[in-house]
Symmetry: C2
Subunit: 375 residues, 2 copies
């Protein structure tokens, strides 16, 4: 479960939000119903909050919230607000786009780099070049590019890798020695490859696969939910999908799903072959110098009732099978889920009819699942 | 099956396209894969084309195309082009948006009216008013509105109805005496109601429900396909959903689905209650003075194997149950489907895993299903 490029945000940060009185609105209100935002989860009462306040929660906390007796009218105009808030958590800082300069290769914008971060490039003017282009009818375009001497993908990859190595953990924490392809859009030629941890500093689009593993018991859908290991660097202890992963260079989505199914949940290929691509979500999240532009391919896998997942890579503490309506309540009322996983579960809720046009804000929420450039 | 506000385009118009060598590209190429557009359906060989050329086709033609032996690599870069072309058919004339003026009520843009069509309003200046607003920092905004004396929804509805009656069939053909709500976004207050046939002349958003009725036989999905009556005013003889309808004033989607299920396919409420809202598609189509801005709520209904639909309103000639992969081929290779239904079937193909990230252009096609303002 390595699909997270974000700086580690310990759960305590989220827990504090649980008790905040008003969420911020980091993206234009057009994505939201016009009425004032007052997320339903703020009224959620959790009797034993001490565990949450310290940045950890247990499965017991999850079940208590999910089975909360609190009844809420589904056609209440605020019913979807808990979901909107999860979308917001993945789409922060849209007002700060002007702080970034386009990163252009072969005439295609592949990323965005913060004006502050480019200061690091001063000693590397044989790799990164600043271009001020006023050829376009008098209007001036400013952008960053790679030195024109770097003509092939291989040359660019090694030149950029050298810069990243020099900048080191101080400027690009969490280096993984794993390469992501840099493309202008999914499926187009790879212009070069970039260290995964550096992707948000260059604002390149990163692709991943997220899989909802579910079981149908007596006609009721249940979702397999993972709880991340408390020792994970990113989002420790939080709820996650059964299977999810970034899409590294040189492997396609289908193959990656099969591989991650084996590694993360012990799902043999004879079963994972039935995983279906069903949708995609996207978000854009600005946090300091980091501009995450992620596109997640969503998969559904209907599992046999008797299947028990088994994590093979030590990144998951445990899995639980939870009725989908209870999962929905956990997402609406808490921030237990890793934010981008919440988005993919919301997409599942749409596709399986658990969010309906009678819920006020239906189309706004549906649209908000692809706020980021989904290409 | 009345969800069509378009001018009647007889099938012969489409048939001629079947043999055209190059489709037009009515919307920006960003919606399409960057490679040149050469839709796969142009290479489709139909031995007996005389029936098609006269504007009619038979179920036999449908099955011949659907079972075409022609094998095509799914990872061929042109595999999705037949689908892209169907999206284009619903999204014509985007370059002509500047010919329209916003139609603004209570400060909210609810529609767009062609500069030529507003000529008709000259004798009705107690109903329609032209406003040139230069209060916005010197930039001038031009728009149409209703006379400020028309304060309530009722007053507006009857004043506009009077104008439409005066303009008559000459200017607004196909008047149905059915009212559509005028809103700025779905679920927001109804500002007034408008004759359904007039909706595209005012560019108001029109909402509808489209339902994919399917059956699973030996693990393979089959879609119930309707063939419209040859006497229908719009899209006679073309392929259609099992159930579809516009959303008139005063009825919600769920109730409308149940009502249309009964009327159009004889599906009792005991079964139609299982219909699930799963998605929404939207398009914007400019054709002369008409600006269609439709949002369709998509539903899936899994039907029992032994269920046989029965049309009760005479608008459907017959229904056939067709394996979904064959339906997909019909959509890719022909224009037999009513264009907006093709969009909803493509959405079904995405959600059920029949279009995959390995198909070049996956994200572009997915995004193109909501080109219109989906709100």
């Amino acid at each position: 479960m390595g699909w997270c490029l974000c700086k580690c945000r310990p759960l305590s940060t989220f827990s504090s939000l649980l008790y905040s009185s008003k969420p911020s609105l980091p993206f234009p209100s057009t994505f939201l119903p016009s009425s004032s935002i007052k997320s339903s989860f703020f009224s959620c009462s959790i009797s034993s909050s001490s565990a949450l306040a310290t940045g950890t929660f247990t499965w017991e906390d999850v079940f208590r919230v999910s089975q909360s007796a609190e009844e809420e009218e589904e056609n209440n105009s605020s019913y979807l607000h808990g979901y909107f808030h999860k979308v917001q958590l993945c789409n922060r800082g849209s007002g700060k786009q002007s702080e970034f300069l386009p990163f252009v290769i072969e005439g295609q914008t592949v990323g965005f780099i913060h004006a502050g971060f480019v200061e690091n490039f001063k000693s590397f003017n044989d790799v990164f070049v600043y271009i001020k282009d006023n050829s376009n009818g008098g209007s001036v375009g400013e952008f960053f590019s790679l030195h024109p001497m770097l003509k092939t993908a291989e040359e660019r990859t090694s030149a950029v890798a050298y810069v990243i190595k020099c900048l080191g953990e101080k400027h690009i924490p969490g280096i993984r020695n794993e390469l992501y392809p840099v493309v202008s859009s999914f499926g187009s030629p790879v212009l070069f490859s970039l260290e995964r941890a550096a992707a948000p500093y260059f604002g390149i689009k990163a692709y991943g696969i997220h899989m909802n593993g579910y079981v149908e018991i007596d006609g009721q859908k249940h979702l397999w939910v993972g709880k991340r290991s408390n020792t994970k660097q990113t989002y420790p202890g939080m709820l996650d999908h059964l299977v999810a992963g970034g899409l590294p260079h040189g492997i396609n989505c289908k193959e990656n799903v099969a591989k991650e199914c084996e590694e993360e949940a012990g799902i043999p290929r004879s079963i994972s072959i039935r995983a279906k691509p069903v949708s995609a979500v996207s978000y854009m999240d600005i946090d300091g110098y980091r501009y995450k532009r992620d596109v997640l391919f969503c998969y559904d896998l209907k599992l046999p009732e008797n299947f028990i997942p088994k994590n093979e890579d030590g990144e998951v503490e445990s899995f639980k099978l939870i009725p989908i309506r209870q999962v929905a309540e956990v997402i609406r009322k808490t921030q237990f889920y890793k934010p981008n996983c919440a988005l993919v579960v919301i997409d599942f809720l749409f596709r399986h009819g658990y969010i309906t046009p009678e819920n006020f804000g239906y189309l706004d929420l549906l649209r908000s699942l692809r706020i980021g450039e989904c290409s």
